[in-house]
């Protein structure tokens, strides 16, 4: 940067720096303004949650109603139900996700044939890259009452006598969503555990072998405790997303028969906001979710930092 220092230096240190870094400023300031516009300016829209918002009026003409919409939300059984649904599906998905990913990583790690291992791994990531539209379409086909593979297999094995209406009965919906989530994300979720397992000190296994440990016991007493820090961090971070049950899965799998258990906060926002044009109510619901979410994510990150581990962003 030496060669671009301007001849006159009376403009002060700040101006000199701005001049020497003018190219960097030209490259960065528009992008930062763009980020401010698209990520920060919409926060102003939260004011809608405290108004009787009418799109035809200007900001100064809007009628302010205080906490009316929040009071409405928390006395609305439909909204309370969406909180329950969001929370429950999030817990189910997270729990199933953790258990399946850790078990799969442990089993995959025991495969000694490199080619077989790589092929299995490649297949396991595949659904992660397909869209939710495709995945839910496949799930609907597999669970179909007419010649659906799941019903066919279960009937063949004699577990069920009649085909089950997997997608139309409320009692199955959370399970279907959980299974769909695991099917799509299992392989992807194992990557981080496989990386952690690869870092385990091999001498520990040798020592265990000398002590007479078999494969199971090595897995249980060495691999699992060694990756415990990774598991703990991921569990804490996932708590930050407890109100993020996913939106696409439920939106694409739901139907009128299961809406009591399928509708999440995001679907409530979409229904009331964009379909019934009650913008204030929808903004209030979204505001509630996002503030809880941001707070939890922040706390989870802080907690991980306190534990003295690397912060994962």
């Amino acid at each position: 940067m030496m060669n671009v220092i301007p001849r006159q230096t009376r403009g002060g240190k700040l101006l000199t720096t701005i001049y020497t870094q003018r190219h960097l400023l030209v490259m960065s300031v528009p992008i930062i303004l763009y980020v401010l516009l698209f990520s920060y300016v919409p926060l102003w829209g939260w004011t809608m949650a405290f108004q009787n918002f009418r799109p035809s009026k200007t900001f100064f003409q809007q009628e302010w109603v205080g906490l009316k919409w929040f009071r409405f939300l928390f006395s609305d059984p439909v909204f309370i139900r969406t909180i329950r649904n969001t929370f429950m599906m999030s817990i189910i998905n997270t729990t199933l996700g953790f258990i399946s990913a850790i078990s799969f990583a442990l089993l995959l790690n025991e495969i000694k044939n490199v080619t077989f291992k790589r092929i299995t791994q490649t297949i396991s990531y595949l659904p992660h890259f397909l869209s939710w539209v495709i995945v839910t379409g496949l799930v609907a086909t597999m669970l179909s009452v007419e010649d659906g593979a799941v019903n066919n297999v279960l009937q063949f094995l004699g577990i069920i006598k009649e085909p089950v209406l997997w997608l139309s009965e409320p009692k199955y919906f959370w399970g279907v969503v959980g299974a769909t989530y695991v099917w799509k994300e299992l392989g992807w979720n194992t990557i981080i555990y496989l990386a952690a397992i690869a870092g385990v000190d091999p001498t520990l296994y040798e020592a265990a072998e000398i002590d007479g440990c078999g494969r199971w016991r090595k897995m249980w007493y060495i691999t699992l405790p060694s990756i415990k820090p990774t598991i703990v961090i991921l569990i804490i971070l996932s708590i930050g997303h407890i109100l993020d049950a996913g939106f696409e899965m439920q939106y694409l799998l739901r139907n009128g028969l299961v809406q009591d258990v399928s509708d999440t906060i995001d679907i409530y926002v979409l229904m009331f906001g964009l379909q019934r044009s009650n913008y204030s109510l929808a903004t209030a619901a979204g505001l509630f979710k996002n503030v809880v979410n941001m707070t939890l994510i922040f706390l989870a990150n802080e907690l991980v930092k306190r534990l003295g581990e690397e912060r994962l962003i």
Binding site: V4, V35, S39, M48, F116, L130, S131
Partner: protein, 299 residues
């Protein structure tokens, strides 16, 4: 003693391999089956029993899907948005990553905070909708491109990579009279090819798979529908139909000919929507894993 372990090990390996094969079948079968259905004669499919291979091979479903022109157009919209998303995102994100990787850049701290915090805050659906509306982007093709030009997550990934480029290379260009533009275009971009390839793949998959922005910002303009959105419409309408409710898209298409059914049309569109990813997937898979590891490096 040793023998017992070998025996135990043998059983373990067999059971484990069986689990893995079963698992792979569960992962692959739904898609494989859809491919088989899409190549099977529609009327024959109704009889049921199509599993791994078409019983009566036919290209009729695909001919039907492409005959209306709507899917062709949607395919083109999807390709266009994917290409533009990748180009703009790579360009702007790597540019800001370069600037904020300069150790003595005057606003380095402030700008980095603005970017990183933007990952955590989320104004929500309705306020964002009004921003897009006020910017005049509703029902415009640019709604697919303009809101997604910079990604804070990809910024962190690229910056982590840039930190590995020796400062001495950058300084030597500067001493030779190169400006920051020269450094960025002639040095940084070429040297970052590996990380840019990874980020490009992330962005491309995300862009190709997205349908929600079409639903909220452009659903009333049929010309702007993406392939995933079209598929979503078909799936929703054919599901509604199988439940006995009303129906729109898939039926309309299938009624044009009694040779095809909503189920077969759906299978064909699913295959078309997934094909680009399935085809390139085996070759690019390792980049995704590299990217995942780069992204998890601490801030």
């Amino acid at each position: 003693m040793k023998k017992r372990y070998n025996y135990e090990s043998y059983i373990f390996n067999t059971v484990n391999a069986t689990i893995m094969i079963l698992f792979s079948v569960i992962m692959l079968y739904p898609f494989w089956n859809t491919v088989a259905v899409s190549f099977n004669e529609a009327v024959d499919t109704i009889r049921g029993g199509i599993t791994l291979f078409p019983r009566r091979f036919s290209l009729q479903n695909y001919k039907m899907v492409f005959s209306t022109g709507a899917i062709f157009r949607a395919f083109f919209v999807s390709v266009a948005r994917t290409v533009l998303n990748v180009l703009t995102n790579l360009f702007f994100t790597s540019m800001i990553a370069y600037v904020l990787s300069r150790p003595n850049f005057i606003f380095r701290r402030q700008f980095t905070v603005i970017l990183v915090v933007s990952m955590y805050i989320n104004a929500g659906l309705i306020p964002t909708y009004f921003l897009i509306k006020n910017l005049g982007l509703l029902n415009s093709f640019w709604v697919y491109v303009i809101p997604t030009m910079v990604s804070a997550f990809n910024f962190l990934v690229i910056r982590t990579f840039l930190r590995g480029i020796p400062e001495s290379i950058i300084e030597s260009v500067r001493i030779d009279g190169g400006s920051d533009y020269t450094i960025f275009f002639k040095i940084i971009l070429p040297l970052s090819t590996p990380v840019l390839a990874t980020v490009a793949l992330f962005v491309a998959v995300g862009a190709w798979n997205s349908w929600f922005d079409t639903l909220i910002y452009a659903s009333s303009r049929v010309k702007l529908h993406t392939l995933q959105y079209k598929l979503m419409e078909f799936l929703q309408s054919s599901q509604a139909q199988s439940r006995g409710a009303g129906d729109i898209g898939a039926m309309a298409l299938s009624q044009q000919s009694n040779m095809v059914t909503p189920m077969s049309i759906r299978a064909a569109i699913t295959v078309i929507a997934a094909a680009p990813i399935i085809v390139v997937y085996p070759f690019i898979q390792k980049y995704f894993v590299i990217g995942m590891n780069l992204g998890s490096v601490k801030e």
